[in-house]
Symmetry: C2
Subunit: 212 residues, 2 copies
């Protein structure tokens, strides 16, 4: 990526702020005014240079057909993840059905797509209390889950423990008739229980710990 001249940098910066502000690219004459350039042809000339140097892409003959390339312009896809509620010991998670999905979201969080690995129907829960501290999940954390009713060995899943009346997040291992729930924290002991006592609520994808 070659270096660019003062005017070209100025134009590129103007492009960014204009798009950020208006949500559509400027016309050549917008750039002319915004950068104090005397002629449209100068703008055109420098835009060609920027295109050569691969900072932008232009759709010729199309008004405002300018697209900023590179990390600053190439926006990652954003997905809006509904925060369906809070997860706390003693309350089962309301597993979302596709119909209900989006209706009973009390809130939502915008995240970049790679944070949920491009998975579908992801929902989020706010963690209340420190009951999952042995899974390295603190009060106030946000966990992202994808709907699931079953799980493979080693999957990190949110499970409803019927006898305890409690939801927790553990790695699950089926061992014959019983089920082992292994905390993320290796210093903690696993929970052993029977298969009919656990009910998988969702598969863990990722989690986020916000600022205080």
């Amino acid at each position: 990526m070659q270096e660019l001249s003062g005017k070209q940098g100025q134009i590129l910066e103007f492009l960014r702020t204009f798009i950020e502000d208006k949500d559509y690219p400027p016309s050549i004459r917008d750039i002319q005014d915004g950068c104090g350039i005397s002629s449209t042809s100068v703008v055109d000339y420098n835009l060609r240079k920027l295109e050569e140097k691969n900072y932008i892409r232009r759709d010729r003959e199309v008004s405002r057909g300018i697209e900023i390339l590179g990390s600053r312009g190439r926006r990652p896809r954003i997905v809006e993840v509904p925060v369906l509620g809070s997860i706390a010991a003693g309350q089962p998670i309301p597993v979302p059905t596709s119909e209900r999905w989006g209706n009973d979201a009390e809130d939502s969080v915008a995240v970049t797509e790679d944070m949920i690995r491009g998975r579908q129907n992801v929902f989020a829960l706010r963690v209340k209390g420190t009951s999952m501290i042995d899974d390295l999940i603190d009060d106030g954390d946000i966990v992202f889950l994808e709907p699931a009713r079953s799980a493979n060995d080693g999957d990190k899943v949110a499970v409803w423990l019927k006898d305890r009346g409690e939801v927790t997040l553990k790695r699950i291992y089926h061992e014959g008739a019983r089920v082992r729930l292994q905390p993320a924290n290796s210093t903690m002991q696993p929970i052993y229980t029977t298969a009919d006592n656990v009910e998988v609520q969702g598969r863990f994808i990722s989690s986020f710990r916000p600022a205080d």
Copy 2:
């Protein structure tokens, strides 16, 4: 938000895909062709309706002056956070200076602005090993920090412990001549040391635990 007619929904959907694809809004005649509409005035009519119903915003007299409103269109600001490296016991963090900033980033992560609370100069580190497990931070986690050389009581900071040759993330409390470093996990014991043994590297903002 009122309901919209079939044609209006079609136009709105076309707007989304067009912008997603090209990164600039379509002209009225683009919409006309894309939706199989016979006249530009029909497009104009329905765009006015969409504007009345608050689905879009138009800049009149401006070509392609269309902006999609609502959660799907209103994109949260994205910031690119440089991942400066890995943090592991036994290695101090390379605190970024504004000059170096952006140069020695081995990688970067795109996050929505609210994840770092709009703070400036934020950088990220990949956590290697389980040495910070008592702070509820696991191997593979990504922590977001802002540069800082000092901290107030109760701040969660990354500190370099000279005698241990180790970096860790704790809440810091100054208690006279000594310093108390309190783990996030309340079941763990705090570390007591002297003020000249600790060196603040950065202030904790948030952390993220990716999928496996």
